[in-house]
Symmetry: C2
Subunit: 334 residues, 2 copies
């Protein structure tokens, strides 16, 4: 079902991409990231939530297309900002073209991404369309706020972050746009506005944090081919993960100095040997195990929330799919 | 009047900027570019067009705020893409902070910039609000398309551009968002949707091209303090201006090779001496004079269009202001 919903969304994306010039450095590149085959969590969650609440694929598809386009735009800019090398098994857009072109392609996807929800008006009426538009606006706002927090931590090389700081940051950067808003938007459309979307916030928070921590763990221990990014890339990028925060709270002063020195070095001058050493310390100090336990704990919270919300709804394939997607997001190994 | 309308718009921008965290690397920076004091052409044109068609400042202000916010977002990303050092007399945002933060601030301004036109619904009703939204969508789309053309020319180091290529590029990159859409949106709101906005396209094209060519000339010959950017910066950035295209069509083969070699060198390794030499050639081959004549010629077209459109309207301060703004845009020396 994740695949089916993803492929409907991808087909939809292609319907929205103009078949005109400039192709080489714009419209051809706009389809590049989506065509690499993301997992399609966001449209999957959104479509399933809509159908679980009695709506149809047809009613929700345009909103799912918007979510996926904005997600890809966000990835392209995020990759430039993090100076990442790989995405979904291929060089990032700024590596295969250049930074300027990648920034502009992201901007173009952001504007293109608003056309589908603009069309909602025709199918869903003005009231629901407006509500969805404000959901999307809030989603992007939270994401850029979370991103600003993370980028600020890196710029100022803050050595004293707590787990609470981390969870607040990924609530903003990840949870809203990966889980909360896809569920909220799906349920708003499926219920024709009769559901209070705030009931999904705790579920989305638990899912999103669990998902992000799992994602960060995979970055350190996954199979590179299946994962599609360079293993340990997050350490080289200086990403403040739960593991790094855990390690920095427990390592000895010498190790702490080594880590802060490493983080204050410009990204392209950082030594891969030191990154490997930090990874070893994460293993030795139990930081990875700690993160795994935290992710499972949050996933438990997500399941509990799921049952309390969805037990009121009739049993449908989409409801079962939502349950399985929560388990899958947490147990995935790539 | 330009100042008045600009300051109303700036006050409006500040009303839309959330007074909350994250401040240091987000909301504080969002007001930085607008606070530097741009010329406010776009809101000026938009507000004056609205009032010339019988509307009020109150009806059009939110749309003017959107135009100015999106303009500033565009500048921030454009400055990153061009690796520019100065903007409005100060270091560019990516120079004073870093690239990642600048990209994210631009993204945040883009999403913030949509809230004002979303509010149009309350004052102007759904039909006009929708029309304005589509105008803004088209405006941003044209701008990113024009940007893609220009960035592609640089990336591929195309040596054979014609004046027609250049004019098509700035039609997309500059004219729509600097002139055509501000006028169109103002007139749509002022006339309550009774004016066909396409009547402004030729005027906006003539104004915008004249404005951009004048801007490019100033980059080469203006007083640095008043202009606010480094003089000759466009040459160092490898910007394809009318002057460069004119020069490359007329210089001798040795000079041509020097220029293409210069343009294929990474931007931060280009020799300022060579840039100076190219500037000398532009003077010697009459490229700057040619551009000045072209700008005046296009400005003449703009005035002719202005009279043919606006002679039907009653004489108002705003109509007179629009006429003078055309003259000012063309004759300005900073």
């Amino acid at each position: 079902m994740l695949k089916d919903y993803g492929s409907e969304t991808l087909k939809g994306i292609h319907r929205y991409i103009p078949k005109k010039e400039p192709k080489k450095y714009l419209y051809d590149l706009i389809s590049e990231y989506p065509d690499r085959g993301g997992k399609g969590f966001r449209p999957g969650l959104c479509i399933a939530a809509c159908k679980a609440y009695g709506g149809t694929l047809d009613e929700v598809l345009d909103s799912a297309i918007t979510l996926e386009l904005l997600h890809n735009a966000f990835l392209i800019h995020d990759d430039v900002e993090d100076e990442s090398f790989y995405r979904r098994g291929k060089p990032t857009l700024h590596e295969s073209n250049n930074q300027a072109i990648a920034i502009n392609v992201g901007d173009a996807m952001n504007v293109l991404g608003l056309y589908p929800i603009f069309k909602n008006r025709e199918k869903l009426g003005g009231r629901i369309a407006q509500q969805v538009f404000l959901e999307v606006q809030h989603m992007v706002t939270e994401s850029v706020e979370g991103q600003a927090m993370e980028l600020g931590w890196r710029k100022d090389n803050i050595p004293t972050l707590s787990e609470t700081d981390y969870l607040r940051m990924i609530l903003k950067k990840t949870c809203w746009y990966t889980c909360m808003h896809p569920l909220r938007i799906g349920a708003i459309i499926g219920s024709n506005g009769s559901v209070n979307p705030d009931i999904f916030n705790r579920l989305g928070y638990f899912m999103g944090t669990s998902f992000q921590i799992q994602d960060d763990i995979l970055n350190l221990i996954a199979d590179e081919k299946r994962y599609g990014k360079e293993i340990g890339g997050d350490i080289l990028e200086g990403k403040r993960t739960l593991m790094l925060i855990h390690l920095m709270g427990r390592c000895n002063p010498d190790e702490h100095t080594t880590i802060t020195d490493f983080l204050s070095t410009p990204i392209r001058e950082r030594s891969p040997q030191k990154a490997k050493l930090i990874l070893e310390w994460m293993h030795r100090y139990g930081s990875i195990t700690h993160a795994k336990i935290t992710a499972k704990y949050l996933a438990g919270g997500a399941l509990k929330e799921f049952y309390s919300i969805f037990s009121r709804l009739p049993d449908t394939k989409d409801k079962a799919f939502l349950e399985s997607i929560i388990l899958y997001m947490i147990n995935r190994d790539y």
